[in-house]
């Protein structure tokens, strides 16, 4: 960090109403080191917050295009965007998780309308419960619990979503799609969530260090 970026961070720390729920000791040291001009934090949506959301949404968009198969069934593809939604939720709370999960898939709307709606649903089911739980239990354990709960919900959502969406794309009855759940859909979704969970968990510490420096 150069001096200028330290200044930036300090400044940012002072204007950002530190991510929801994490602003406890700010008031005690309000006088010294606040450096607040009182302009940028006039509402909940500080410029800092807008910038953070924007970059996380951009990252979710970028990663949602990095797709590769993880099971022998090649038309089901893994993309790491769920990790970005999870981290956004952990760092900035459930509302950030919602914004990143929804806006992150807008570019797909014009290539795969139904599929993108489903992707939004799955991302929401994963990241929102995870961030809600983590907000209550702010520890590694809380993060693990959150990811687990989110992953279970997301798998359920993905399976239900497949039941609805697959017949639109392929001429299949609901029964035919349901028959695919055990051999194909479930293993894929479990594998996908497992990768999300492991990677998020591994990068959790360095990333939270990074975030801590900014809040």
């Amino acid at each position: 960090m150069s001096v200028s970026s330290r200044i930036r961070m300090q400044f940012v720390r002072s204007v950002a109403p530190a991510a929801e729920g994490a602003a406890s000791d700010a008031s005690s040291t309000a006088k010294l080191g606040s450096h607040n001009t009182g302009v940028a934090d006039s509402g909940r949506w500080s410029t800092r917050r807008i910038a953070m959301y924007a970059l996380f949404v951009a990252l979710a968009m970028v990663t949602s295009f990095i797709e590769f198969p993880i099971t022998p069934v090649t038309w089901l593809k893994y993309d790491p965007s769920g990790i970005v939604c999870l981290i956004a939720g952990f760092a900035y709370g459930p509302s950030a998780a919602v914004i990143v999960s929804v806006l992150g898939f807008v570019p797909h709307m014009f290539a795969d309308p139904w599929g993108s709606l489903m992707a939004v649903l799955v991302a929401l089911c994963l990241s929102v419960p995870a961030s809600l739980i983590y907000r209550k239990v702010r520890s590694r354990k809380g993060a693990a619990l959150g990811i687990l709960a989110g992953a279970v919900l997301a798998i359920v959502a993905a399976l239900l979503g497949n039941l609805v969406v697959t017949p639109i794309y392929a001429h299949m009855s609901y029964a035919a799609v349901a028959a695919m759940i055990l051999p194909i859909l479930l293993p894929f979704n479990v594998a996908k969530m497992a990768i999300h969970a492991v990677v998020t968990f591994l990068i959790y510490k360095p990333i939270s260090n990074l975030l801590a420096k900014q809040q």
């Binding site: 940028a40 807008i50 951009a58 968009m61």
Partner: protein, 764 residues
Amino acid sequence: MPANRSHSPAIAAELNHIRFSYDHGASWALDDVSLTIRAGERVCLVGPNGSGKSTLARLIAGLTAPDAGDITLLDHHVVADVTPNADEYRAARRGIGVVFQNPEDQLLTTVLEDDVAFGPENLGLDRTVIATRIRQSLDAVDMSSVRRADPTRMSGGQQQRAAIAGMLAMNPAMLVLDEPTAMLDETARAEVMRVLDALQQRGTTIVHVTHHPNETRHADRVIHMESGHIAEDASGQATAQCPETGVLTPPPAADDSSTPLPVLSNSSTPQNNAPIIRVSHLTYRYADGERPVIDDLSFSIQPGETVALMGTNGSGKSTLARLLCALARPESGTIEAAGIPVVRPKPAHRKQIAQLRRRVGYVMQHPEQQLFAETVAEDVAYGPRNQGLSDADVQQRVREALALLHIEHLADRSPFDLSGGQQRLAAIAGVVACRPDVLVMDEPTASLDVQAKARIHELLHTLKERGVTMLIITHDRAEAESLADRVVRMPSPSEAQSSPSIQRDAAPQSKTDHRSPVHQLDPRVKMVGFLAAMFTMFAVNTPAQLATGIAFTLAVMMAGRLNPIRLLATIHPILALMAVMSLCNLVVVRTGTPLFTWGPLSVTDDGVTIAVLYTCRFALVIILGAIFLTTTTPTAITDAFEALLHPFGRFGLHTQEIALVMSLALRFIPTLTDETRSIIDAQAARGGSIETGSLSQRIKAMSAIIVPVFAGTLRHADNLSLALDARCYEEGIVRTHWRVFAPSARDAVFAVTVIAYIVAIVVL
């Protein structure tokens, strides 16, 4: 543009007894600083990193408040007796423009004139006023001819001028610039300095933080900062060569106009025995480039030789570095490095690549962006570990590399806690620890302060003594000459890559009449219409409906004057997926007359009908989507998005903010994509691979990419939030809009067509 300037006080900024601390008073970044800047003055703030000059600039810009003292900016008493006054700050900031170091992070949209309009929109100015402001400020930075071009694809110098234009459009009485040229090459720096000279002539107050000695030349005053104090405050001429601090001593031949450099070629190569790098007839072009950026290049480098490579931005230097390290594949030609055929005539296979990674080190531009581990030592160990060395050997390599850069004391610190200079040293240590025989470095000392630069120069001397062959890309002629055995320049490409492409982009758009009717549709009508048509396409179930759908899609494509083949080319990966799905449909359907059977599989006539139907309707959806995306600019998409969100504002949704988030996200996609790619390259050059190795190695390789990508994301967000502040954006402000939509007859025709199509689908 001195016309109707809102503030013209005699004193632009007055700071009294300012103190500023980053650690709640444990140490003072600024300690009792008093300073008065008169209107129309051009003031340079200089001093080593950590001296407080950037902090001071930010206080003058009204972006942050001090811990003690009293500040008046443009006659607004913003800090009276330590208490900041938000209203005064708000008023003062409207008269202050700020330009930051990183050109790209200050650009908010993908159309130059929209970007310039963003500030005036926040000030709530009238459309006609905004139009004048755009024209005047683009004229001032000499960019009127490219007003419709995409600033994110311009050169650094142009981007920085665009950022200045964005500030001028807000008609500032004072302009504060924080190292605006730190990331620019010589030519681009000159461009920016010319603009500053012109502004000085017009009487704009300029506060300029710099550590380039020759940039203080035209200053009225040079204020020298030293550990939180003003060490010297003198007239521009007097301090231009102030020797005692040693920081500002200009290199004797700072100007690049001395002797022309030889071009990198075979003739510039000493023709001795066995070269360690041999390149012949190398040609490379970017995916979208018309002319090759590297054209039939041949040269070689002797073992132990240090070659400095110079050249303008866009001349292909960085590309050459990536080619040498097997991070990109040339169009033709051969490369051999350290005896390993990188390309010849087929690309190297996996084993050769692994060998190459051991022997050829690569320091990318801004290598600090690749740091990822929890400690510096861990980060440095990444490369050696990927070479499969034993733990003891790895530790030995780490110690040695840290010692070479004199950063042993940082071994257990988090790389993210370090200063910019220290991060650079740690990142370079990570490459040196791989003990390469050949080291390719892309601007290793760019935007570093004097001390950090000196460390790197010392390292390069040591490596040279050890016989390491080095290719160093640099913009600094003095540095090149002091380090290298041979200073060469890149053969000039067909003039800098960026300018022709900008002209090309600008040309068709400037003549608005020539855009197709589909391009000219009101984006709101267009977005709703396309989405409605796309979703109803899934209801297509009979041949008649399909025919309607095809007719509709073709009609839209023709109205958009799009080349169907080029359009299909953009969506070919999805087409491949559809082929698989249609096969699946073929086999799954069991009803109807069997046409033929093959083992357990049978294909029926119903199956064929359904396969064709499903494939076609899905293809039409994708084609419609592609038509929408190719005929609508990201800005227009965001505008439509905001307009459509607008009704939800009544339910407390922050529609203006969400739309802004969306547009900024679209704007930053290319930035993040490029950065991710360069981090993947840099880690690959250290032997990290996601595709091979044990599971834990792969996961490690993945986090070595993901963590720096997140770090970069946060860094951009920091810069961006300041850029938004500088443009006076605030939540909930009443903004005006430079571009207004007025649905026309054309939009009505389109809406009727879409409705007719939907009705047809329902009826048929």
